[in-house]
């Protein structure tokens, strides 16, 4: 049995795919590794590149060619095909740091926990800078119980780029991500949380998250276009949380609630600031807030505990747009840069 299955979703990334696969397919890794390249109906030469790698590494690379169904559909397909003990996702425009990856793969062979957490870096192409997210509060090679999940203003939650899940855990929780939908990475990290027993931290900064493609989903212009999908994922996550909250350990519940708060906060700011139709923006966020109060009153209360959210609600969210603009302008004035 292979140690690790890596799902590589591919959609029109011919310029990046080689870099992604080159970083994985090194001789020392081949025996322990399964790379599932899932072509999501690309219109460029990506499938040819993927086939070339499958032919070069037939024992390691599995190629799935499917009609377009979005990021979630590729993960769903890869999970069905995965034969490795562990499963993780590597987007085809990103790559792994190979020395760190080899070290991590070696350690992974001796792991049995539900989740393995590793640091990652964001690589900014515009500036050439690299920003590392290192989960510095976790100790290398230590096993933590699910009740030790923490996330607050200072501590980042465990993102998809940091996560390696036990394959069986993902199957046990019947992971099925939305198709034709962006932001399913949030769904992906949220699904297994109620089932999680323990996790281990390995201090190998493996994932390199490439920032700078204009068509990336967190690009503000793209986000505006895909806002309904962001809301769809957020509503699903809140519903998922609400259904299970009574059966969750308090720490896991707090952790999930914190992720939801962060996502709600992002959603609120982007809707209020980016949506050109202001009346629609305020109506949309107020409706959403009312729905949240009805669906998950405890979560609504938790969100209200944050003063900014509390006063935003009091002001019917009218402050968000102007407060943020003012804040940005004052900040820019102090820094001497344009907002």
């Amino acid at each position: 049995m292979k140690t690790l299955s890596i799902c590589v979703p591919v959609y029109n990334t011919e310029a990046y795919l080689r870099r992604c696969l080159d970083s994985l397919l090194v001789p020392e890794a081949l025996d322990a590794l399964e790379v599932i390249v899932v072509n999501d109906g690309s219109k460029d030469d990506s499938p040819e590149i993927a086939r070339e790698y499958r032919d070069r590494f037939p024992q390691t690379v599995v190629f799935i060619d499917k009609a377009n169904g979005g990021h979630g559909s590729t993960i769903n397909a890869a999970l069905k095909a995965a034969s490795g003990r562990y499963f993780r996702v590597l987007d085809s425009d990103d790559w792994f740091d190979t020395p760190a990856f080899l070290h991590y793969l070696e350690a992974l062979a001796h792991c049995g926990e539900d989740l393995i957490v590793t640091p990652y870096s964001q690589e900014y192409t515009e500036t050439g800078e690299s920003v590392r997210y290192d989960y510095g509060w976790l100790e290398h090679d230590r096993v933590y119980g699910a009740a030790e999940l923490v996330s607050d203003a200072e501590r980042l939650y465990i993102t998809m780029h940091a996560s390696t899940f036990r394959t069986q855990l993902l199957r046990d929780c019947a992971l099925e991500l939305f198709e034709h939908c962006f932001y399913v990475d949030m769904q992906y990290i949220f699904y297994p949380l109620p089932y999680l027993k323990d996790y281990r931290f390995l201090n190998d900064s493996v994932y390199r998250y490439f920032i700078g493609r204009p068509e990336q989903s967190m690009n503000p212009a793209v986000f505006l276009r895909n806002m309904p999908q962001h809301e769809k994922v957020l509503r699903w996550m809140i519903g998922y949380y609400a259904e299970r909250r009574d059966r969750l350990a308090p720490e896991v519940r707090d952790y999930m609630a914190h992720i939801l708060y962060l996502m709600f906060h992002t959603h609120m700011e982007l809707v209020c600031i980016r949506l050109p139709d202001r009346a629609l923006a305020y109506r949309s966020i107020r409706d959403f807030d009312a729905w949240l109060r009805q669906t998950a009153p405890d979560l609504w209360e938790k969100v209200d505990a944050y003063p900014y959210m509390h006063y935003s609600r009091k002001l019917k969210f009218l402050n968000v747009r102007y407060f943020n603009r003012l804040f940005l302008r004052v900040g820019a004035l102090l820094r001497g840069r344009k907002p």
Partner: protein, 427 residues
């Protein structure tokens, strides 16, 4: 047919990329040329070097002038005196002022055919917009301001600043106007426009008429100029070599950062690799090498002769190509470096640090080069794969042979015939 008169400020023995590409092209052509040039000024070059033997079809004519302005006047006088000897004139930039000679000839003698061959773009050359301050910082003509909104465009403060800047920099303003006049005039009046890549063509031509007169003729390599000796014996270290000019915009820093990051994680890197830069290097890069303790890995060597550079390229394990990062002003890379053709000719693996888009970038990909972005993380990753995992780029010789001087010159000859026919139609 009569000989063709070529105006080129740079030409061997002056060791400059512009002159070398002209030299290789003309010597492989089936037509006969007189090349009006100079050999007394070697600014913007690597000095003069021996060993360039022109073919029987090329005859250089060296002007006496020591300034570009005098050279222009001398070039004009030469044409007036020898008018009857030529049907066709070709001007080759850089510098852009060479085309001013063609423009003057075309105005005075419209029946003379004129091929204008561009090195780099002129008025929209990204270097003029990013670093060389040819355009006022707040001017809408400055490409850094493209895409700015109406509020910026109509701002009285912006307009006042532009006016103030113009008043304070009268010489820059005159130079800019002259360059714009040269490019616009050349693009409007030349019979054939020759560019070295499609990205440059897109940047410099705007109408269907201009594009109909335009053609892309690639830079080329001359296989006969490469040393005949066999490849050097295998070395303990892999050698990465950069040959050419770096400056404050086209700099090695992203590559150096990648090297530093890899060195920080792999202590034995200096035993596996050496990086040698021949040519010019900006002080910021040199300081980076020293400050980050890369001196045991990275070496900076003085410029070498062209033939020596070909030997170095052929003997290296990897040749390094670096393009200026001009994403702030252009969507794609608009430069096709002359040495790329020589890299192709050397057959050595190429590691390119460049923009994601552009004609030269596409050519590198098709040639099988390793094309990397300016991300230090990505560069580090591939250096690791090359040095520790035996990763190799696979160069496509069938593709790179298209850049052989004979093939490129055959395309150029077709354009010459076209220009001559166009001249006859005018007559």
């Amino acid at each position: 047919m009569k000989r063709i008169l070529v105006y080129s400020w740079f030409y061997p023995p002056i060791n400059s990329s512009e002159g070398l590409v002209t030299f290789k092209l003309l010597n492989a052509s089936r037509f006969s040329y007189d090349v009006f040039t100079q050999k007394s000024v070697d600014t913007w070059s690597y000095g003069a070097s021996m060993g360039f033997q022109n073919g029987s079809n090329v005859r250089p004519i060296y002007a006496q002038s020591t300034t570009l302005a005098d050279w222009e006047r001398e070039a004009w006088r030469y044409f007036v005196r020898h008018r009857e000897e030529y049907d066709l004139v070709m001007t080759r930039s850089m510098p852009p002022e060479v085309h001013a000679v063609g423009l003057r000839i075309k105005r005075a003698f419209p029946e003379v055919g004129w091929i204008a061959s561009f090195g780099d773009p002129i008025k929209n050359n990204p270097f003029y917009h990013i670093g060389y301050d040819l355009f006022p910082p707040f001017s809408m003509a400055n490409l850094l301001n493209r895409g700015k909104g109406l509020r910026f465009r109509l701002s009285p403060g912006r307009i006042a600043r532009v006016c103030l800047w113009q008043l304070r920099h009268p010489e820059t303003r005159r130079l800019r106007r002259r360059l714009i006049r040269i490019e616009d005039g050349t693009v409007a009046r030349a019979d054939r426009l020759v560019f070295n890549d499609r990205s440059e063509l897109r940047l410099m031509t705007h109408t269907a008429g201009e594009r109909a007169r335009s053609v892309v003729i690639r830079h080329s390599y001359d296989a006969a100029m490469f040393p005949r000796a066999g490849r050097a014996l295998p070395r303990r270290k892999q050698r990465f070599v950069f040959v050419g000019q770096l400056n404050s915009i086209r700099k090695a820093e992203p590559l150096l950062r990648g090297i530093r990051e890899l060195r920080d994680s792999m202590e034995d890197l200096a035993e596996r690799a050496e990086f040698i830069f021949y040519g010019d290097m900006p002080e910021s890069d040199m300081a980076y090498i020293v400050r980050n303790g890369l001196t045991d890995l990275v070496r900076y060597e003085k410029p070498v002769s062209y033939r020596e550079s070909l030997r170095i390229m052929r003997e290296a394990d990897w040749v390094v190509h670096i393009d200026a990062d001009t994403r702030a002003v252009t969507e794609e890379n608009v430069f096709f470096a002359g040495k790329l053709a020589d890299y192709f000719g050397a057959g050595t693996r190429i590691l390119a640090v460049t923009m994601r888009r552009g004609d030269a970038v596409d050519a590198l990909r098709r040639a099988g080069a390793l094309v990397l972005s300016y991300s230090a993380g990505e560069i580090k990753e591939y250096l690791y794969l090359i040095l520790y995992q035996g990763w190799k780029a696979r160069m496509d010789r069938d593709y790179t042979r298209r850049y052989e001087a004979g093939r490129v010159a055959a395309e150029f000859d077709r354009e010459v015939v076209e220009a001559l026919e166009n001249r006859k139609r005018v007559e």
